[in-house]
């Protein structure tokens, strides 16, 4: 058994046996849903329905019902797409990158972070597929042999790279998440009393039995999938950033975008994980598993990535001044002092200044403060994407094309709808799926559990 340094704080609090962990994790699934859950589900699904209505209206009437115009032809649609994709990235980071770095604290949070990835990518996919004028022809994006003399797609376009990147990202994340869920589903199957539940979890668990051979393969699959997901997550958001970076638009044509977008994605993703987990740990009484230490670790990642984002903002400003290109200089002057100065100010305050507060230990270990700040960061990162897209497009090369952008209720409605969809799915997930990877958690009880750590101390190890 692995011996762990005494300096490390326990990751599992209280006196937890293997069986106790099982009990704690299946409680939300086997128990009855609370009133709060039903209320939240109703609100979320109503928002979701409203979003579906707005989408149907868009498809039926035309993209003109949005606020986008000839100059600003990308606005809330792509802002929300990049925002959602960015949120999804923390899930993969937690489950893949932290696995490669053997970070044990990931075990309590990886399951819900991966679920968050899946649902966030689904929301993002809505925007890319339905911001087209003729979404019923979206299948033309795939290089399928056809009756037009086999007319193919153009592989030079980053929007086509997006199709490949997002679909690969979604499907690989789904498989990674599902593989991890199999032993947990088997655990629920084996203790289910009701025949229907037993049947359902029996199908979901694929007949998993936990034999040594299967575990050996399972661990290899997890490790290789983590090794594949890590470059995947970096490439996906880099490809998303190339939608802008490969253009000729001043303010977009920069080489810093790929790493800067990825850092921003991790930053906003971790903020969203915190927002969700702070509620989940409270409502489902998982305080012994998702401890203050976990929150602190995530906050440290927020400081690191927030600072990278801050450096990127300053680099962009410096380079635009240093370039001597007046269009480039004006693009940044316009962001800071133009008609959307308030969006730029909101982005700077929320993303650069506010995460620096986490340098204070008192603040980064305060749950209330973390919760508020995690929401602030998500607002800030929404504004970052908005600032990159809208103010840039409303002031490009020709002054005669300068105009303004105002979202309509449909733009807002679709965004609200995706938030509703995300929470609908997430709420259902917390009720029917194990929110913590119990089979992983059980491997660290004896090295990082509070009880075992204290016992080891007494024995003078």
């Amino acid at each position: 058994m692995q011996h762990e340094s005494e300096i490390r704080t326990p990751l599992i609090l209280g006196k937890k046996s293997y069986h106790q962990i099982t009990e704690d994790i299946v409680r939300p699934i086997e128990g009855k849903a609370s009133k709060l859950w039903y209320i939240l589900l109703t609100i979320a699904s109503l928002c979701f329905l409203w979003g579906i209505g707005c989408l149907a209206y868009t498809i039926g009437t035309g993209i003109g019902v949005w606020g986008s115009n000839n100059g600003v032809d990308w606005a809330w649609d792509i802002t929300n797409f990049v925002w959602w994709i960015g949120i999804g990235h923390a899930g993969t980071l937690i489950s893949a990158v932290l696995l490669l770095f053997r970070q044990k604290w990931r075990m309590a949070i990886n399951r819900s972070a991966e679920a968050m990835t899946i649902f966030a990518v689904m929301c993002a996919a809505i925007f890319v597929t339905l911001h087209t004028g003729r979404p019923w022809l979206d299948y033309w994006l795939f290089p399928l042999p056809n009756q037009f003399g086999s007319l193919w797609v153009n592989f030079n376009s980053p929007l086509l790279w997006d199709v490949f990147a997002v679909s690969t990202y979604f499907s690989v994340s789904l498989v990674f998440w599902y593989t991890g869920l199999i032993p947990d589903f088997a655990m629920i199957r084996d203790r289910a009393v009701k025949p229907f539940a037993k049947k359902m979890y029996g199908i979901l668990s694929f007949g998993w039995g936990g034999s040594a051979r299967h575990w050996s393969r399972f661990e290899e699959v997890s490790l290789v999938l983590a090794g594949l997901s890590t470059p995947l997550v970096f490439s996906v958001h880099s490809i998303v950033s190339m939608d802008f970076a490969t253009s000729v638009v001043p303010g977009w044509h920069t080489t810093i975008f790929p790493p800067y977008f990825v850092a921003g994605a991790v930053f906003s993703g971790f903020a969203m994980v915190l927002t969700l987990l702070l509620i989940v740990r409270k409502v489902y009484h998982l305080e012994n598993y998702i401890t203050i230490k976990h929150v602190e670790y995530m906050n440290i990642i927020i400081i690191v990535t927030g600072s990278i984002v801050g450096v990127a903002y300053l680099t962009e400003l410096f380079i635009s001044w240093y370039s001597g290109v007046e269009y480039e200089q004006y693009a940044f002057l316009n962001r800071a002092t133009g008609p959307y100065w308030w969006a730029y100010a909101a982005m700077m305050t929320c993303n650069v200044i506010s995460p620096q507060l986490f340098w204070f230990k008192k603040l980064r270990t305060s749950l209330m403060f973390t919760f508020i700040l995690s929401i602030v960061v998500n607002i800030g990162m929404w504004f970052e994407r908005f600032v990159i897209i809208v103010p840039t497009l409303c002031r490009t090369f020709l002054p005669s094309t300068w105009n303004m952008y105002h979202p309509t209720f449909v733009d807002i409605g679709i965004f609200t709808g995706t938030i509703g969809m995300f929470f609908t799915f997430f709420l259902l997930f917390t009720r029917y799926f194990p929110v913590i990877a119990q089979s992983e958690l059980k491997t660290i009880v004896k090295s990082s559990g509070q009880e075992f750590k204290e016992k080891a101390k007494h024995h003078g190890h």
Binding site: F164, A165, I182, D190, G210, E219, I239
Partner: protein
């Protein structure tokens, strides 16, 4: 002589590992071990060979790279060498930077899904498959060792298991 299957149940992974080592040193073979989480070190003791899934994954990955390269060469250079925004379409190498993102994604796609599918099929984990653990408690907090042996050696094995196992069942 008739065969006996012994199911030995443990409360913890360490005594199981200890008994497994003793059984192996006396020349008995262990058929399988069922546990709620991976027991590190068990593979060497009960003789589970290292899985070759990673090699499969590599092969699927290079298949993905080749397919993507072939596809984009055929569609962009061979079939319709069109001028799209001044990009050179005369030879594959001339426009290769634009093909890298999709080549990369395709490599990851094939490596990940190919390996996952191989894992599921090789372990026969498919929707609707029968639960493979003989005792349902082994996905919660019990650990089970399955030993297949001759009737004669039953008592020797029993004496080894006596220390750690909490229950013994015969089939």
């Amino acid at each position: 002589m008739s065969k006996v299957v012994i199911h030995a149940i443990y409360d913890d992974e360490e005594p199981l590992l200890e008994s497994a080592k003793q059984l192996r040193s006396q020349g008995f073979s262990i058929k399988d071990v069922f546990s709620p989480f991976p027991i590190h070190g068990i593979d060497g003791v009960i003789g589970v060979p290292r899985t070759r899934l990673a090699i499969c994954s590599f092969l699927y990955g290079i298949t993905g790279t080749s397919l993507a390269t072939l596809m984009m060469w055929y569609m962009m250079v061979q079939d319709w060498p069109t001028d799209i925004g001044g990009k050179p379409s005369f030879a594959y190498y001339m426009n290769v930077p634009a093909f890298i993102p999709i080549t990369f994604e395709s490599t990851v796609f094939c490596a990940a899904h190919g390996m996952a599918l191989t894992f599921f099929l090789r372990s026969w984990l498919i929707p609707g498959a029968k639960a493979k653990n003989p005792d349902p408690r082994t996905t919660d907090d019990k650990f089970m060792m399955v030993i297949e042996t001759e009737e004669a050696s039953k008592s020797v094995i029993e004496s080894i298991l006596k220390g750690g196992a909490t229950e013994l069942h015969y089939k």
